[in-house]
């Protein structure tokens, strides 16, 4: 198994501070409320945490969002570049570049190639569709999201592998000479990852290409369904049986000296579940199909609400992996054997979780949990 340290790099605010003003944590929260002096401290603290995680043997994961206090990483290539020069061993997973929101996908091909060369092959490259909330910041039409994603992906792959200039007059992207320099260090290109939810088209697309599929903060049940469907489709297509190296799972994670302390201190992470915005940002028309959007007005029966669930429920359902080192080690071992999770994406920081607690959790994990679980599934090709 491999373990990846993750922070979305938030600018934590309490709901009472912003909801009366914008009614939303994203898009419309006025940027005059974001203090650049505080931002400077936060960015440097977050990078300190990443560098410490690298020293302790973690891999690292970065993501991208815009116009939101939940995530100030607007361009993971920037932070990856800093981390590459200041770390030594970690894989750096960017999960991921929201391709539909790029007007020039060749820039993504260039950036990843630069990072991969600079790091001598430590980059893992994730391509994502982007959440609904990204459409207003970039102003990309939601109905075009999926098609832009596929076309940008195909273009980037050709740009990495074709070897000479080529012509591309697609539906969304147009180039007369596509020939990015440099090419990636890893050949033919870095391993590609992609987030997958319970969406047949998404699972099939990932399985057809045998990309690592990542399930984010959706719980064990959804992860299982995705994993089993991915394996079914892979078999159908004649691939060798995918194993843990293909499956990545993200959870909010916290390790403390005891289970009780883990709950007490780890509760700060739940801030991430509480931030909200109106449905027209989360779910703009055209981003998901009509059947999915029905739930805006017709709430699903029997569903559970992660925003209001208890700590115990969140732990049981798998949104949180937390406790004493032994509790966490047992849980991870169970996850590996029962669910073939090869890559654990650990959101060790969220909300108001303080730097010293994040560092403590990472340290306890590295010294007391990792020795118990790192042998699981080795060697694991990332």
């Amino acid at each position: 198994m491999r373990f990846y340290h993750f922070s979305e790099m938030p600018y934590p605010m309490r709901e009472e501070e912003y909801m009366p003003i914008s009614g939303s944590a994203r898009v419309t929260l006025p940027n005059r409320l974001i203090d650049p002096v505080r931002v400077a401290s936060l960015y440097n603290d977050y990078l300190d945490e990443y560098e410490y995680a690298d020293e302790l043997g973690f891999d690292l994961i970065l993501n991208e969002h815009h116009q939101t206090i939940t995530c100030m990483d607007v361009q993971p290539s920037l932070f990856a570049a800093s981390l590459i020069r200041r770390t030594t061993q970690s894989k750096i997973l960017i999960l991921g570049y929201p391709l539909p929101h790029r007007d020039n996908p060749l820039r993504v091909a260039e950036e990843v190639a630069v990072l991969d060369c600079l790091s001598r092959g430590r980059i893992l490259c994730g391509f994502v569709r982007g959440v609904g909330m990204e459409h207003h910041p970039s102003n990309v039409n939601p109905v075009e999201n999926v098609e832009r994603f596929y076309e940008a992906h195909d273009l980037i792959l050709k740009a990495w592998t074709h070897g000479e200039p080529f012509h591309w007059e697609g539906k969304y992207y147009h180039y007369r000479y596509a020939n990015p320099i440099p090419r990636p260090y890893q050949q033919p290109h870095p391993p590609i990852w992609t987030p997958v939810s319970l969406n047949e088209e998404q699972i099939r697309w990932a399985a057809e290409r045998q990309y690592v599929c990542a399930v984010f903060l959706s719980g064990f049940s959804i992860f299982d369904q995705v994993r089993l469907r991915y394996k079914e489709i892979s078999r159908e297509l004649g691939y060798p049986e995918p194993g843990p190296e293909r499956f990545a799972y993200m959870a909010l994670c916290y390790v403390a000296e005891t289970d009780e302390l883990a709950e007490q201190e780890g509760k700060e992470l739940l801030w991430y579940m509480t931030t909200g915005q109106p449905h027209w940002f989360t779910n703009p028309p055209g981003y998901r199909d009509v059947n999915y959007r029905m739930r805006i007005y017709k709430p699903q029966k029997g569903g559970w609400n992660p925003r209001t669930a208890s700590w115990q429920e969140l732990c049981e359902k798998g949104l949180i992996i937390a406790g004493s080192p032994d509790t966490v080690a047992k849980k991870i071992t169970q996850l590996y054997h029962e669910k073939e999770i090869g890559h654990l994406l650990m959101m060790n920081q969220a909300g108001f979780m303080s730097k010293d607690k994040v560092l403590k959790s990472i340290r306890l994990f590295a010294t007391e949990v990792k020795p118990q679980v790192e042998h699981l599934g080795l060697p694991l090709n990332a």
Binding site: N141, V143, W280, P285, N291, M294, I296, K298
Partner: protein
């Protein structure tokens, strides 16, 4: 597609909310005209076509349609988005169009880059949207109930309408930057009718729209918002048939 009446063809094009059904407005028109009230591709029960992704495409679709049914001397009337489609149709080819009636139309840009001309009703609470659109918000219910009150079928249609609106009007938002300067090519009579209380597109915007045509009249409809043909149908009918001197001489 709804159709009734006999006489001169009258094509009515609906707004972003979707088709309104057979309204008193259309009923009154059908007493003296052959009224055609289609649902645009992607709205109501009309299926979406992957060839049609812009208002320009919708305009060409309807121009082909006029040819297909060999309609001539057509009065083309549009509400909001429908008005924008009508204006684009006339720019391309007004040979089958006798005159236009634009009611609270969108589609042009009047103000500088950082001043919105058109309220962003896609990103506000329903109640706020209704307040901007209606002189009497309570009257909206008969035409556009709150989505949570709709049956599953009607809700699915409503959500599909929203998707179509996004498809056609997302960027540039609710307008074609080139349209305003092209309107000087439209040499047929144009009536621009505007609800006095329209909070989505203001009367000032409407006046600028009218001023962009070589021959257009601009008339305010009192006690009406964005849908004067729904809130004050009698007054609107009167304006359409007797309002403009050029128009009156033809009827």
């Amino acid at each position: 597609m709804l159709r009734a009446g006999q006489g001169q063809p009258f094509l009515y094009l609906h707004d972003t909310n979707g088709p309104e059904g057979w309204t008193p407005f259309l009923e009154a028109l059908a007493e003296s005209h052959d009224v055609w009230a289609p649902s645009h591709p992607g709205y109501g029960v009309s299926s979406h076509s992957s060839d049609i992704t812009s208002v320009e495409d919708l305009a060409l679709f309807y121009l082909k349609w006029l040819e297909l049914f060999d309609l001539r001397r057509v009065v083309v009337a549009g509400s909001g988005l429908g008005g924008w489609i009508a204006a684009e149709m006339a720019v391309w080819n007004c040979s089958r169009i006798e005159r236009l009636v634009l009611m609270d139309a969108i589609g042009i840009k009047v103000s500088p880059a950082d001043v919105p001309d058109i309220a962003d009703t896609q990103t506000m609470h329903w109640e706020e949207k209704i307040r901007l659109e209606w002189y009497r918000p309570a009257a909206s219910h008969a035409y556009f109930p709150h989505p949570s009150e709709l049956s599953e079928d009607k809700l699915a249609q409503h959500l599909k309408n929203e998707e179509s609106t996004v498809r056609y009007t997302w960027k540039p938002f609710m307008h074609n930057p080139k349209l305003r300067s092209s309107l000087k090519l439209v040499h047929i009579p144009v009536q621009v009718l505007w609800g006095e209380a329209d909070g989505v597109v203001t009367p000032a915007y409407g006046q600028a729209y009218a001023d962009s045509f070589p021959q257009a009249t601009f008339t305010l409809i009192p006690q009406a918002g964005h849908f004067p043909h729904l809130e004050q149908p009698d007054r609107v009918i009167q304006e359409i048939f007797h309002g403009s001197p050029q128009v009156a001489s033809r009827t």
